[in-house]
Each structure stands twice: as structure tokens, then as C-alpha cells.
């Protein structure tokens, strides 16, 4: 399995504590990049700017990804453009929220 895929799989274990749904199914992860030294760059967003869980979730992502053996440094790039919208959620997340 490639390191990108390992990181993606690990992020399924980071749960948004307010919604009780993992950040991958919520569609918060926009991209995972790995350089030649296995440093990981994660581009992500939150459901709303000014989310009080901002630091908690960002640190959760760093902690979980750092636990993967091959990973070097982890950098989280929080972006607001494009803004998150419900269409980014998986069907599983939509089902859990009773949406759609």
C-alpha cells in the first residue's frame, strides 16, 4: 500500500467530536501529498471557519499520521477555498446525519 493510502486510511480514525463522524467521510480532507523524504502534507478544511474544534482536529490529524512508521514530518494546510459543502460528504456520513 502506498504511503498516501496509508495516511488516508489512518485519517478514517480521526473523529469529529461534535458530529461523531470521521473527517474522511465528512469530506474535510482535500488532498494528501508525500515528498521523496516521506514528509506528509495534508490539505484540509473544516465545516465552518471559526470552528471551535479547529486546533483539536488539526492536532488529531498530526498525531494520527505521525503514528505511521514511515512518515517524516507532517504539515497540515488548512484552507477555506473551496469552502466545504454537504456534497463533499460520503453517503455513509450523509446517512449518519439523516441528510439527503
Amino acid at each position: 500500500m502506498s504511503l498516501e493510502k496509508k495516511v488516508g486510511a489512518a485519517l478514517f480514525e480521526v473523529i469529529d467530536p461534535e458530529l461523531g463522524i470521521n473527517i474522511m467521510d465528512l469530506g474535510l480532507i482535500y488532498g494528501i501529498g508525500v515528498d521523496i523524504e516521506d514528509n506528509v502534507e495534508i490539505k484540509m478544511t473544516l465545516t465552518t471557519p471559526g470552528c471551535p474544534m479547529h486546533d483539536s482536529i488539526t492536532n488529531g490529524v498530526k498525531h494520527r499520521v505521525s503514528q505511521i512508521e514511515e512518515v517524516g514530518n507532517v504539515h497540515v494546510d488548512m484552507v477555506w477555498d473551496p469552502a466545504w459543502n454537504p456534497g463533499k460528504m460520503s453517503d455513509k456520513a450523509k446517512g449518519m446525519l439523516g441528510f439527503g
Binding site: 480514525e13 480521526v14 473523529i15 467530536p17 461534535e18 458530529l19 461523531g20 465545516t47 465552518t48 471559526g50 470552528c51 471551535p52 474544534m53 479547529h54 486546533d55 483539536s56 482536529i57 492536532n59 488529531g60 490529524v61 498530526k62 498525531h63 494520527r64 499520521v65 503514528q67 466545504w84 459543502n85 454537504p86 460528504m89 446525519l97 439523516g98 441528510f99
Partner: protein, 409 residues
């Protein structure tokens, strides 16, 4: 952006407030005969009312603002050190003031002065914090409107306490009416409006709403407050009816926005405590409508108006706070205890930190108590007032315990 506020600061306010809630309801229970007689302007009722409004509602509002202002306005608290000093002074001042109102009203001003110093420190703290906000929005104006009303409320309150101690100020009743309107409608309502624009979308995960009624709601409600307060000073009945009508229209604009936010929510199944806060919005709208109808039909019986003010305070303000607190305290405690553990080990969700089933029972009991108490008083049935004020006091105690329990998860 996280709230940089140390958890101890908002929690200190919240724990003091929960104790004050139980004390207030116990005082009102032991004076249920005065409630039955509709005698609200007596020292013991003043004591209970000020423990409820200053001790519980104001202290909760202060604690919640120390937590929510940095989150909602994306700016850190101006001085946390001032926050701790302000907490101690306000807590001592409010306690002393409420007790003196009950046992030595002539000396209440001394407790009042201390409470006012604490409140002014809070106002300076919040104004300094909010002024640092880069991009002002409608929420900013609601909170500034609320803080301005709060300042005017304590000025009016100081004049009342001065008059009780030394006399010499005419228009005591007019100042009292202005004090009540500025406090409950100006400070609390504008504050709940403002924070609801952040909290309702956040807790319902709403997207794509417009907030198009926020500005009309703000200006209309402010105009309503000015009209109503002016009517007390000018003693002009038409102005009073107009004031209530404009307040109702302002509240309706706010409800239109909340309706749109909820219609566009993604989280279809809402948490029960949050639903209770939404129910309080419905209560608030109904109470404003009843006030308009009473004025239009010329109903001026003081007992009816006393109980309408009671319903305004309990059904709208206190119920809103009771519901939101079930979300705010778990969030505070989760951030303190689990924020650095997420991603390393399994941590509970916010919902797992509360017992939602118990909250439903408590919220039903609060609703039943308030309805029973009001009906008992309006129909002058002593046993009903006794039972439901007793139930309200016990429910408040159980509620306080259920919130404190979160801190042991």
C-alpha cells in the same frame, strides 16, 4: 482558531451560576406564598430574582462569553488576568447584593457597588476584545448592543439601590421599569440573538443560509426598546403598545432567519438540549405576541404583567441558557481533557459526555414546572404554586448536578 481562554475561567463563572440557580429557586420556593399573592416587589423576592438573573443568568452569560467571543469573533480575550479578578469581584458583589436585598435592603447599595465594579470590568474586557476583531459582522453589533443595554441596566439598578438606601431620586417606578426592560429584553435578548447566529448553524450544521433578517431584527428590536422605555418616561400608552409591537416584529425577523438556518441544516436529527434552546425561541416569540395582545386589548392588571415578565425570563432567557449550557460545558471540558489526545487514543464524542435521556426528563420537568407555577399563580391556587415551585427548585438542583457530572467524565 481555538479559544485560548483557560478552561478554569469560564468554568468558575458556570459553577458559581449553577449554585446561584439552585439558591434562587430555593428562595422562591420558601416564599411561594408571596409568589401566589403576586407580591414581587418585596425583599425576599428581590433576593431570589437577583440570584436568578445576576447570579445565574448574568454569570452564565459572562462565562459563556469568555469562551464564545474568541471562537465567534476570532480574537483572543483582552486580559485573562482581568477575567479572574473580575470573576472574584462580581461573585462577591452579586452574592452580597442579593443577600442584602433580602435581609437589609437599606444597605444593598454596598453589595451593589461591588457587583457594578465587577460588571464594568467585564464590559471593559469585552469591548476591548471585540474592538480587536478584524472583520465586524452583525453578531458584533448584537453583542455591542447587548453590552450597552447591560451598562444602562446597571446604571438604572444603581439608582434604584441608591433610592432604597438614601432616597431623593424621583421616578423610582419609571427607573425600575426601564431597568427590567434594559436587563431582560436589551441585554439578554440581544445577546442570545447574536450568539444564536453562530450557535444554531454550528449545532445544526447548516450551510447556504442568508441571515438576511439579521440587520432588520437588530435595528427593529433596538427601536422597540427605545419606544417602550420612552413610554415609561412620557407616560404615553400608545407608545407602550407600539414598543411591544415593534419588539414583536424585531423578534419575528430573528425567527425568520433561524427558520431558514434550520431548513438548510444538514444534521437532521438535532441534539435534545439544543432542541430545548430552539423551543425557547418559540416561547420568546409567543411571549412577545401575548404582550402585544394584552396591550392592544387594554389588559393592564399588574399580576398578569408580573407573570408575563416571569415567563419572559424563564421561558425564553433561562430555557435558552439551560439548553445551550448542555452543549457549552461538554465542549469546554472535552477541549481541556481530550483535545491533545485526539488521534492518539480513543476519545469520547461530546454527545457521549452527557446523558441525553436525563436531559430530556429535566427539560420536560422545567417546562411542566413553569406552566404549572404560572397557572397556579394566575388562578390563585396555593397548593399548585407550592408544588410546582418545589418541583422547579428540585429540577434546578438535578440540572446543576447533571452539568457538574460532565466534569467527571
Amino acid at each position: 482558531m481555538k479559544s485560548d481562554t483557560n478552561v478554569k475561567l469560564p468554568l468558575a463563572f458556570i459553577i458559581y451560576a449553577l449554585i446561584a440557580l439552585v439558591v434562587a429557586q430555593a428562595i422562591l420556593f420558601f416564599n411561594n406564598d408571596l409568589l401566589l399573592a403576586g407580591q414581587f416587589r418585596l425583599p425576599d423576592i428581590w433576593m431570589g430574582a437577583h440570584f436568578l438573573l445576576l447570579g445565574y443568568a448574568v454569570m452564565i452569560a459572562m462565562g459563556a462569553m469568555y469562551q464564545l467571543v474568541p471562537v465567534a469573533f476570532l480574537t483572543p480575550i483582552w486580559s485573562q488576568k482581568l477575567g479572574y479578578i473580575q470573576f472574584i469581584i462580581t461573585a462577591i458583589g452579586v452574592t452580597l447584593f442579593a443577600i442584602l436585598l433580602g435581609v437589609q435592603p437599606d444597605n444593598a447599595i454596598y453589595g451593589g457597588i461591588l457587583a457594578i465594579i465587577g460588571i464594568i470590568m467585564f464590559i471593559i474586557q469585552m469591548v476591548q476584545t471585540i474592538l480587536k476583531q478584524k472583520n465586524k459582522n452583525m453578531m458584533t453589533y448584537f453583542v455591542l448592543g447587548a453590552i450597552t443595554s447591560f451598562f444602562l441596566t446597571i446604571v438604572a439598578g444603581f439608582l434604584l439601590a441608591w433610592n432604597i438606601s438614601y432616597g431623593g431620586i424621583g421616578s423610582h417606578n419609571t427607573i425600575l421599569a426601564s431597568h427590567i426592560v434594559l436587563g431582560v429584553a436589551g441585554w439578554f435578548t440581544l445577546l442570545i440573538f447574536g450568539f444564536s447566529y453562530k450557535l444554531v448553524p454550528m449545532f445544526s450544521l447548516s450551510h447556504g443560509f442568508s441571515m438576511k433578517w439579521a440587520k432588520p431584527a437588530f435595528f427593529t428590536y433596538i427601536i422597540g426598546l427605545i419606544l417602550l422605555i420612552s413610554s415609561f418616561w412620557l407616560d404615553f400608552m400608545f407608545l407602550e403598545t407600539s414598543g411591544w409591537l415593534v419588539l414583536f416584529i424585531g423578534f419575528s425577523f430573528f425567527v425568520l432567519d433561524i427558520k431558514e438556518i434550520l431548513a438548510k441544516r444538514i444534521k437532521k436529527k438535532l441534539d435534545k438540549p439544543f432542541t430545548f434552546s430552539l423551543l425557547a425561541i418559540g416561547n420568546g416569540l409567543a411571549i412577545h405576541l401575548i404582550a402585544v395582545l394584552l396591550k392592544v386589548t387594554g389588559v393592564d392588571h399588574p399580576t398578569i404583567w408580573s407573570w408575563l415578565i416571569f415567563l419572559y425570563v424563564m421561558g425564553w432567557i433561562i430555557f435558552s441558557i439551560l439548553g445551550y449550557l448542555y452543549k457549552i460545558v461538554p465542549f469546554l471540558w472535552w477541549t481541556h481533557k481530550y483535545s491533545n489526545k485526539i488521534g492518539k487514543e480513543k476519545v469520547p464524542t461530546l454527545k457521549e459526555m452527557i446523558n441525553e435521556k436525563v436531559s430530556v426528563v429535566l427539560f420536560v420537568l422545567f417546562t411542566v414546572s413553569v406552566i404549572g407555577l404560572t397557572l397556579g399563580a394566575l388562578f390563585q391556587i396555593g397548593a399548585v404554586v407550592f408544588i410546582f415551585q418545589g418541583l422547579l427548585a428540585l429540577t434546578s438542583l438535578a440540572y446543576a448536578v447533571s452539568i457538574v457530572r460532565v466534569l467527571f467524565v
